[in-house]
Amino acid sequence: MLLFSIVIIPVLAAVLSALLPARLRGMANLAAHGVLLALAGILAYRISPGSGIVAFGGVLRADALSAFFILLISLINLAALVYSRPYLQEDIDGGALSVRQARGYDILFNVFAATMLLVPLLDNLGHMWVAVELTTLASAFLVGFYNTKASVEAAWKYVIICSVGITLALLGTVLVYYAVAAQAGTKTLDWSVIMGRAAGLNPRIMSVAFLFILVGYGTKAGLAPMHTWLPDAHSQALTPVSALLSGVLLKTSLYAIIRFAMITNKAMGPEFTSRLFIFFGLFSVAVAGIFLLAQKDFKRLLAYSSIEHVGIIVFALGVGTPLAVFGSMFHALNHAVTKSLVFFAAGNAVKKYKTHHLHMIHGLVQTLPFTAAAALVGLLSLVGMPPFGIFMSKLMILSACFQKGLYGPAVLLLLFLAVVFGALMFHLSASIFGHKPKGIESGGEALSMKLVFVSLALLLVLLGVMMPTPLQALLVAASRLVTGGGL
Amino acid sequence: MKIPLLLLQAGIAVLAAPLVSGFVRRVKNALRMRQGAALVQPYRNIAKYMRKEEVVSETASWIFRWTPSVVLGSTLAALMFVPVFSFSLSAAGMGDVLSLFFLFSLGRFFLALAGLDAGSAFGGMGSSREMFIASFVEPAAVLAVAVVAAHSSSSAAEPLVRSMGMSFSGMIAAASLFMVVLAETSRIPVDNQETHLELTMIHEAMLLEYSGPSLAMLETAAHAKQLIWFSLLGAILWPWPIGSSSGLSAVACAAFFVLKIILCAIVVGLTEIGLAKMRLFRVTDFLGLAFLFSVLALVVSGLGY
């Protein structure tokens, strides 16, 4: 019943926001997503001891891995929602958005949230594919929300490239189905059933199937050669949406890749997938690092940094030891929180300076002190400075890599991370500090925005210094599930 | 215990020092077939300065007023380190030739500051060039002494002298030290003592602003410093009978010491006449040569000579 309620609440919220007037709609949405976060917490709590499984009518199924992703999605959804309230209010007062469009935004936001929450819960791989496709379609309207040339172009590229990617993933799913059908004669696509029979699958078909899955869902996850849509979509979308996109949407498609990787590992042993993951991980970090150096647009900079962090997570999955998988999950959580914090700050800055161009934004400390503080905290956390979470997760991933003896990739990763560090510091420190340009007066941040900034920053420091035990238990269960070995 | 004797020795040395530079000037004038000033001319100068009234520049600060005392004081302290007549403080464990060099650099530091303090271009030029030459002297001097000391297990001046016989590496080190002495006592190839053309003199330029008793003190300090360098050079070249412990009577030691100083003075006088003053930036090659000599000495002493 718990899983069903998790899926239904956002749908109900979508319906309600279609009907209710503005003031009530805000309250309803807030309540809905608050309850969602609570439910995710309960789910995580019920699952973490041992490898507990919660199922609902054969369709929905949640184990430690999906519980963690549900928690991640609902947390960032709540943060994005709380941020989007004042963000849209400013637009409505400024006349950029009509009330009808604001209502449209709320509906789409909830639909998008519903589809994302659906992905980790579906047991059947075909249904999961459909859910991922729906997330693309739902978020397409949010990317193309402002009817300007740039956002329409970004939306079109986003829809087409992601659909092509997901079609390839469908091909991969069909091949997996073929392998399962050919080997055991059972006509099923349920993940739990396939995991039972994964040992005997034909390795040749499984390898090709996994390649299609990796490229297909990889396009959606923003892995390197297929990442081309990501900077456009993130820079043109509404700020809360781009926070959702890079914080959580990329991770849902990573979730799908992990599911298939578990099957392939069982079928053919882990070294096939780990070589691929390490290659794609390092390639993504390298490409992101190089593109970051030549960036001039604030949001595109953050988009490329998302590609880099997805690369790190995939690299950690490639290393494959329980500690590495623990580190990659923990990194996914840290990155989601940090990226949404920085995107919110970027949104404020872009709105105040009315330009995306980094060279025109400087003296943020004087114009928007709170936003500048958030941007600084986010920046330092993104590049892995100590008090914040990413420093710890980076340390885990690298130490797992060294323990496994992968010295080459680890050194390469350190090198690329240094390039990324230099690029980000070079661009953002010039815009955060410095003199305030003349025409802009300071101040004007809503209270709830400040609340979001402070809470996210505190969460980051909490994750960086000490790990709450229930979260640690959940992550340990998830990593045991993925790698089969205890921590 | 040894302190009163040391003070006595320092006092005698200070009194004798002007005589040495007077003697060097006598040697030069004799070679130039000139009558030249009397041997005691430096004493007369100092006495004259003593009686004169002192004029101090208005821009000068307390550093300008205290530099003469510091320079002379540090030279006197340095005197106690070097085996002038019989023995030195280093025998009493006070420090060794390295501290000697540092004491000289203390004096030079304050003299350079005084040169700058007067606010005229000549003083600044003098101190700049003085520090420039000093920085190239230092490595050559330190290495030369280190080589010599390497034979006598410690770099304390006195044991350094006693145990080391006449060795080939000692000779080369002495040559290098001789070039250092020329630079340090502002002799011809590096600096010209006798000229008063502001743009050429280095050591004199820093004293330009001084008059009266201060100038007297600085003059005596210069003479004392020269005496120290000569005695150090002599100690390395002819190391034998120095100090009371070597069985020879004190008078014989003193006589031998005076002979050594005269010899050094003559050699210095000869070089002053023989060479012309170098351009400032060729002094680096000159002192580089001195440094190479000390490295050569090190190599030779490494081979065991």
């Binding site: 590229k157 087409i160 090709v208 390649l211 490229v215 050669p225 297929m226 081309t228 190089i290 593109f291 030549a294 400390v365 400075m385 340390l395 885990m396 690298l398 130490s399 060294f402 323990q403 003896g405 510091m425 010039a430 500090f433 410095g434 210094v465 921590l487 | 003593m50 009234e53 101090v56 520049s57 600060s61 004081g73 006197l76 464990g93 420090g95 540092f102 004491l103 350079a112 700058l116 007067a118 606010g119 005229s120 271009a121 600044g124 101190s127 700049s128 520090m131 920085s135 490595p139 330190v142 290495l143 280190a146 080589v147 390497a150 297990s153 009266g212 008793p213 007297a216 090190l298 190599v299």
Partner: protein, 613 residues
């Protein structure tokens, strides 16, 4: 398993306590100084922020020194860099300090990447994060791993200490921070890097092979010379002091490098003495460099400028600052009674002992190092004659210098305290030497027989073991003051009517001299610029602006030296990266067809390559 809550272990052995002492000795006067210094420049809120950050900075340094766990060390180390970044960027209105902050943080982060790699290698090999566990497991490390670890540690800590090829950030970062902070950074933060070298290379990796010691010596020698030559050319007082930090770190590492070579040859007594000499110079440098930076801060507050070309005659308007700067200058130029002299004398003795006892190859190597140290200390003396002379003496060169007033009491008391400490460290050399030999022995762990050789001599006397040359600084101080007093009394006695009249400086009798005829810093350093031209590649442009028949009315002279390391080492790398980025940016050219083609090609290539046979 990873988090600070499960991993905080502390250790307070003599080495850590010594460095804690150094940090405290520098930080307290600087904090006292910063109270007055900041209030005059910033608003009340920003002063509170700066003081808070400085306190956090000191705490993080103390945490680094006292931690006994790799993760805690790394955490505190990065936190220290982060807080010092905020302090460097504190006056973020000036574009230069933001740029300096970025360079500083990026280079520190690269250094930490080296450390991270080294720590992870050690953890992978030893299986534990604690120093103790690693020290017990260290002998079992394969030799190749030890060499790699040594390289990583030297690079990582060298970057933070400012060894030459990696020193680029130091002359940018230190001058931008507020003076009290840059004194802590120069005085204490660089020493934390030295602590790192001692703790990990000497403390953990066991008996070092000989090439380790010589590598450190060569790097230190180069750092000494390059640091002091650049300092001679620098006319911004804080940049000058920053370059001197590079030079003094070189001197400290000379002691440590020599100690490691002696340790390899098994000469325990000399090894302990060499390390102790290095440590002695560490504490001396911390004290007099802190003092000099505080003086530069008070100059900056009083005159509003840091360029010594615009100062002059400050000794008459700021007597206490001038006096303390003079004490600092004398200490750093190793002039006898003060602390700098004692530590450089000790390091000379180390090299002299090495020269005497080493085999023929070693003799030349130590001779070269001794000559390099001698040249460096002489150049340092020249540089500080320039700095003190041009800044404090003769006539003021600008209106700001003419109207400068003495700084507030709190600032002066901090400076005077440090000056007194410098003198005390010089006089009480014997006492300090005994303590440092104990510290050196604590992490070298020599056989017990060595102890008596080190600890002989009373409080005033340093008996250097091996060459039994001894140094009684109080006796030297006595001799000096006796000499000066005697001379003064003699002159007072002889010329009784000793009348002193104040006249004009000798200007060849033409006209009254004004500040334009004074010797400027550029002029003072001109001989050195020509002598070291092969390294500095000086640039010189002269231009007649207004010319008359008889003589030149107006003349412009411009000179600069090329930052060799920055231009030929760092710019090509960074420039290359940016050019590569511009080129690669072309791949995202905006057409959706190309993007689809990328996806298509990727899947084809993968199927061909990775499809299992």
């Amino acid at each position: 398993m990873f988090f600070l809550s499960q991993n905080s272990r502390w250790c307070f052995d003599p080495l850590a306590l010594f460095f804690l002492g150094v940090i405290v000795v520098v930080s307290l006067p600087s904090l006292l100084f910063s109270a007055g210094y900041l209030r005059r420049q910033f608003s009340r809120r920003r002063t509170a922020l700066a003081t808070g950050l400085t306190a956090l900075f000191v705490i993080s340094m103390a945490a680094v020194v006292a931690s006994a766990n790799l993760i805690l060390f790394l955490f505190a180390w990065e936190f220290m860099s982060l807080v010092s970044y905020f302090l460097v960027v504190f006056e973020h209105e000036h574009e230069a300090s933001v740029k300096a902050g970025t360079i500083y943080l990026v280079m520190t982060h690269v250094g930490t990447a080296f450390l991270l790699a080294a720590f992870l290698l050690m953890h992978a090999q030893a299986g534990t994060w604690d120093f103790e566990g690693i020290r017990t497991a260290a002998p079992a490390f394969p030799v190749g791993l030890k060499n790699i670890l040594f390289g990583l540690f030297l690079a990582g800590f060298g970057m933070k200490a400012g060894i030459v090829p990696l020193h680029i950030w130091l002359p940018y970062a230190h001058p931008q921070a507020p003076a009290s902070v840059s004194s802590i950074m120069s005085g204490a933060m660089i020493k934390v890097a030295v602590y790192g070298i001692l703790r990990f290379i000497a403390g953990m990796l066991g008996v070092p092979p000989v090439w380790w010691g010589s590598a450190i010596l060569v790097a230190a020698g180069i750092s000494c010379l390059v640091g002091v030559i650049y300092a001679l050319m620098e006319h911004d007082i804080k940049k000058l002091l920053a370059y001197h930090s590079v030079e003094n770190i070189g001197i400290i590492l000379l002691g440590i490098g020599a100690g490691m070579i002696f340790w390899h040859w098994g000469w325990w007594v000399l090894a302990c003495a060499a390390f102790a000499a290095g440590l002695y110079h560490t504490v001396n440098h911390a004290v007099f460099k802190g003092l000099l930076f505080l003086c530069s801060g008070s100059i900056h507050v009083a005159t509003g400028t840091k360029d010594i070309e615009k100062l002059g005659g400050l000794i008459k308007r700021m007597p206490q600052t001038a006096a303390s700067f003079l004490v600092g200058a004398m200490a750093i130029s190793a002039l006898p009674p003060l602390s700098g002299f004692v530590s450089e004398w000790l390091i000379f003795q180390v090299f002299f002992a090495g020269l005497r006892d080493a085999a023929s190859g070693g003799k030349l190597f130590f001779a070269g190092m001794m000559a390099c140290l001698a040249l460096t200390s002489a150049l340092a003396a020249a540089c500080f004659v320039k700095a003190f002379g041009v800044a404090f003496l003769a006539m003021p060169r600008s209106r700001a210098a003419a109207e400068a007033g003495e700084v507030s009491l709190s600032m002066r008391s901090a400076m005077i305290f440090l000056a007194a400490l410098t003198v005390a460290l010089g006089i009480g050399a014997g006492l300090v030497w005994k303590m440092l030999c104990a510290v050196a022995a604590s992490f070298l762990k020599p056989p017990p027989a060595v102890w008596d050789g080190l600890l002989s001599g009373s409080w005033g006397l340093i008996r250097f073991p091996g060459t039994d040359a001894c140094l009684r600084t109080p006796m030297i101080m006595l001799a000096l003051s006796a000499g000066i007093a005697a001379v003064y009394a003699f002159v007072r006695l002889v010329s009784r009517k000793h009348s002193v009249t104040v006249g004009r400086t000798w200007g060849c009798g033409y006209y009254r001299l004004d500040h334009r005829t004074e010797y400027t810093a550029t002029a003072f350093s001109k001989p050195f610029r020509i002598a070291f031209g092969f390294f500095l590649l000086p640039y010189r442009k002269t231009e007649k602006i207004r010319d008359s028949f008889y003589h030149v009315k107006e003349f412009s002279y411009e000179t600069s030296t090329t930052p060799v390391f920055k231009r030929y080492l760092y710019d090509p790398v960074v420039g290359g990266l940016f050019r590569l980025a511009q080129y690669v940016r072309g791949f995202q050219m905006g057409s959706i067809h190309w993007y689809l083609a990328y996806v298509f090609v990727t899947i084809l290539v993968l199927v061909v390559i990775f499809g299992r046979p």
